[in-house]
C-alpha cells in the first residue's frame, strides 16, 4: 500500500515491560498526550512509511476478535473518542501488550500510540498506529566551543534500526461510514498491516506471533497462499524473459525456488531482487511486481506451490527431461552451455548408480 502525507493528530506513549516483570512493578503509564515538534512528527512519519509503505516488510493480518473490549475495538475507538478515552484506551492496550510479552527475545520498551491521517493509495484516510519501540543505546555528541563530548544515552527510541520496532497500522477505508462514535467498528472497514522484523528471520514464527496474535488478536491474512503463488508466477515469468543465457536462467530459477523454500516467514520483492537478480534487472522486476499488485511483503504460504517446489525439472527440445529435488539440482547439476550444433552440455555430479 502506498502511504503518503502522514499527519499526526495526537499521540501518547506508555512503558511496556516483559510479562514476568509485571509482578516487580507496574509499568509507567502516561496520563497526558505527548507533544511532538515538526521534526519529531517527521521522524515518526518516516518510521511509519519505512515499515508500512510500498517496498516494506509489513504483512496483512485479519482480525479474529472484534468484540467489545477487544484490542481491535479499543484501538479503532481511539479514532473518534475524546482525549480522556484516547488516553485510557491506550493505557489498556499498553497493559495488554506487557501481558503478551511472555516468550522470546522481548525487551522492555515503549508503546507509542499515534492517531493521524494519511493518503493510503491516494485516498485520504484515518489511521491508528501502535508502535512497540524498544529502547536503544547510543552516544550523544555535544559540541561545546572547540570540545566534543560523547554522552551515553540508553533510552533512545525510534532510531534507524528496524530490529527495535513492531508496528500495527490500522487504516480506516476512506469510504466507510461511522454511525455512532461509540459503536463497534467492523473489521471490514479497516486494512490492518503488521510490521515485525522477527517475521523476516527464519525459524521465528512463534516469537513473532505474540505481537499480532496474542496482543492484537489477529491472524495472518487468508490470502497468503494465493499471493505466494502469484509471487512465484511473476518472478518465474520475469526470469524467463530476462536477457541472459539459458544456462544462467536455469540458475536464477533455482535461486527463486531456494528463496521460496528458505525458512523465512515472508516473501518480499526487494529482498528477492537484491539476493537473486543482477543489479540492472532489479528495478525492472520491482516494476513488474507493482504491475501485479505486489508492493509489500507477503506472508509465505506454499500450499499451492507444493508440487512445483518438490522437484525441479529441465525439459530439452529433444523431449529429454531431467528431474531432481531442488536442493540436489542446485548442488549437483550444471548446465554448462548450449552449442550451435543443437547439443547442450550438462554436468551431473555422481556416477551412474542404476538404470531401471
Amino acid at each position: 500500500m502506498k502511504i503518503t502525507n502522514i499527519t499526526i493528530v495526537r499521540a501518547i506513549v506508555h512503558e511496556v515491560v516483559r510479562a514476568s516483570q509485571l509482578e516487580d512493578r507496574p509499568p509507567i503509564l502516561n496520563d497526558a498526550l505527548v507533544t511532538l515538534n515538526t521534526k519529531g512528527k517527521d521522524l515518526v512519519s518516516r518510521r511509519l512509511v519505512e515499515t508500512v509503505a510500498s517496498g516494506s516488510h509489513c504483512v496483512d493480518v485479519t482480525v479474529e476478535d472484534s468484540t467489545s473490549g477487544s484490542p481491535f475495538d479499543r484501538a479503532t475507538a481511539m479514532l473518534d473518542c475524546s482525549d480522556e478515552l484516547f488516553i485510557s484506551n491506550s493505557k489498556h492496550l499498553a497493559s495488554s501488550l506487557s501481558n503478551a510479552q511472555t516468550a522470546g527475545p522481548i525487551k522492555s520498551g515503549s508503546a507509542v500510540f499515534v492517531q493521524g491521517r494519511c493518503f493510503a493509495d491516494g485516498a485520504d484516510s484515518r489511521f491508528i498506529a501502535i508502535i512497540k519501540a524498544d529502547s536503544d543505546q547510543a552516544l550523544y555528541k555535544n559540541v561545546t566551543g572547540e570540545e566534543i563530548t560523547l554522552t551515553y544515552v540508553n533510552e533512545m527510541i525510534l532510531g534507524e534500526s528496524q530490529r527495535l520496532i513492531k508496528i500495527a497500522f490500522l487504516i480506516e477505508d476512506s469510504d466507510s461510514t461511522v454511525t455512532l462514535s461509540d459503536a463497534l467498528r467492523s473489521p471490514d472497514d479497516f486494512s490492518i498491516k503488521v510490521f515485525d522484523h522477527l517475521m523476516q528471520i527464519s525459524g521465528n514464527g512463534e516469537a513473532a506471533a505474540y505481537f499480532y496474535r496474542t496482543f492484537l488478536q489477529c491472524r495472518l491474512a487468508d490470502t497468503s497462499s494465493r499471493q505466494t503463488k502469484n509471487f512465484y508466477n511473476v518472478a518465474r515469468s520475469f526470469i524467463d524473459q530476462m536477457p541472459v543465457p539459458q544456462a544462467d536462467r536455469v540458475d536464477y530459477q533455482g535461486d527463486l525456488i531456494s528463496y521460496l523454500r528458505s525458512n523465512e516467514e515472508i516473501l518480499e520483492p526487494r529482498t528477492f531482487a537484491r539476493r537473486v537478480l543482477p543489479e540492472d534487472q532489479r528495478d525492472a522486476f520491482l516494476g513488474v511486481c507493482r504491475g501485479s499488485d505486489i508492493t509489500e511483503a507477503i506472508t509465505k504460504d506454499l500450499t499451492l506451490l507444493k508440487g512445483k517446489l518438490r522437484r525441479r525439472s529441465v525439459k530439452f527440445s529433444s523431449n529429454v527431461t531431467l528431474y531432481a529435488p531442488p536442493d540436489v539440482f542446485k548442488e549437483s547439476v550444471r548446465i554448462t552451455g548450449e552449442s550451435d550444433d543443437g547439443w547442450t552440455e550438462v554436468r551431473i555430479r555422481g556416477s551412474i548408480e542404476s538404470m531401471p
Partner: protein, 333 residues
C-alpha cells in the same frame, strides 16, 4: 599598360582596396552580431578576428603579367583585396556563407578558386568556400571613395582548415625546384592524407556537437516540463535550470534517455497527494523549492533501488523524499 603603369595604378588604388576590405569585414561582422546577439558572442564565434589584406604589389603584378595574364587585370583579378573569416565548425561556415550571399553587394563563388581546387585536390580537398563580391554602386567609406564593381575576395574556413592551409601553403612545404615524379607523388599523397584528416576531424567535431546539442535539448525539455508541472502543483514558478537540477539530471541521464515530457506530466497527474507536502516543505527546505523534485520523483518511482547508490549529494534529502513519496527506504540506503 606597361608594367610600371600597372604598378602605379595598383599602388594608387591600394587605399581604396584597403577601405573596401575593411568595409566588407565590418558589414559581415555587424550581421553576425545581429544574428548572435552580442560582440562577445561574435568574438567567440570567430576564432581569429576578421582580417582584410591587400595583395602584395609584386604578387599582383606577377599574377597579372606572368602567371595568369589578363587584358584588364585591374578589373579581372578578383583577389586584389581579401577578407578571411576563421570559425570553429563546418556548420559555422554555412552561417557566414549565407550572410555573405545576402550582403549589400553582388556575391558569387570564386570560380578561380573552384577551378584551382579541381586541379590541385591535394591542397584544397577540404570543404571550403571562397566568394568574390563586387560593390553595386559608388560609395564612401572612412573618407575613401569606392567605385562600383570593385572586387573583394572572402575566404571562410574552420580553424582546422586554416591551420592546414597555412601549413600546406607555407614556403616550408613548397619545394624550391620541381620534384621528381616519385617524390611529387609521395608529397601529394601525404598532403591528401593531411587534408583527409582535417576533414575527418571537422566531421568528428560536428558529430560531437550534434550529440551534445541533442543531449542538452532533451535534458532542457525535461527540466522545463518538471518546472511547469511543479508550478501546476504548487502555484510557484521555479528556475528549471538550477545547478542541482542539472546535477541530478546528469547523474541519472541513463534513465532519462528515453523519457518523454508527457510521461512526467502523467506521473504528476496520478499523484494529487504530492501537493500538500510540496507546498509545506518548500517553505522550510530549499531542496523542495527546486522543480527537479518532480523529475526525481518520477525516477524514484521507476528505479527505486538504483537511485540511492548514485545519488550525488547528502542522502538525507533523498531519504526524506522517499518518505514523502510513500516508498520505504528499508534496505535501500
Amino acid at each position: 599598360m606597361t608594367e610600371s603603369e600597372l604598378r602605379g595604378a595598383f599602388e594608387e588604388r591600394r587605399p581604396v582596396l584597403a577601405a573596401l576590405g575593411e568595409w566588407v569585414a565590418e558589414r559581415v561582422t555587424a550581421s553576425l552580431r545581429e544574428a548572435l546577439g552580442s560582440d562577445e558572442a561574435v568574438s567567440k564565434f570567430l576564432q581569429l578576428p576578421a582580417k582584410s589584406r591587400v595583395k602584395d604589389t609584386d604578387s599582383f603584378l606577377e599574377k597579372a603579367l606572368i602567371r595568369k595574364p589578363k587584358k584588364n587585370p585591374l578589373e579581372e583579378i578578383t583577389d586584389q583585396v581579401g577578407v578571411r573569416f576563421v570559425v570553429l565548425l563546418l556548420e559555422d561556415i554555412e552561417r557566414i556563407c549565407s550572410i555573405v550571399e545576402s550582403g549589400p553587394w553582388d556575391a558569387q563563388k570564386d570560380r578561380d578558386f573552384q577551378i584551382e581546387r579541381l586541379k590541385n585536390p591535394d591542397y584544397f580537398a577540404y570543404q571550403s568556400d571562397h566568394f568574390v563580391i563586387r560593390t553595386r554602386s559608388e560609395f564612401e567609406h572612412d573618407g575613401v571613395t569606392i567605385s562600383a564593381g570593385m572586387p573583394c575576395e572572402i575566404q571562410i574556413r574552420t580553424i582546422l582548415q586554416h591551420a592546414y592551409a597555412e601549413m600546406a601553403h607555407s614556403s616550408a612545404y613548397k619545394p624550391p625546384i620541381k620534384l621528381s615524379e616519385e617524390d611529387q607523388r609521395r608529397v601529394s599523397r601525404s598532403l591528401a592524407k593531411g587534408s583527409a584528416l582535417i576533414e575527418i576531424t571537422d566531421d568528428v567535431f560536428r558529430e560531437i556537437k550534434t550529440k551534445l546539442r541533442d543531449y542538452n535539448e532533451s535534458i532542457e525539455a525535461l527540466l522545463k516540463t518538471a518546472s511547469e508541472v511543479y508550478q501546476g502543483i504548487t502555484g510557484e514558478p521555479t528556475n528549471p535550470m538550477t545547478a542541482l537540477g542539472k546535477l541530478v539530471a546528469g547523474t541519472y541521464w541513463e534513465f532519462l534517455n528515453n523519457v518523454e515530457p508527457d510521461q512526467l506530466r502523467d506521473w504528476a497527474i496520478n499523484r494529487p497527494e504530492l501537493k500538500s507536502p510540496l507546498c509545506e516543505k518548500r517553505k522550510e527546505f530549499v531542496f523542495y523549492r527546486d522543480s527537479i523534485v518532480i523529475l526525481l520523483g518520477f525516477l524514484i518511482t521507476e528505479h527505486e533501488s538504483e537511485i540511492p547508490g548514485r545519488w550525488p549529494v547528502d542522502s538525507q534529502y533523498l531519504e526524506d523524499f522517499y518518505t514523502t513519496l510513500g516508498i520505504s527506504t528499508s534496505g535501500l540506503f
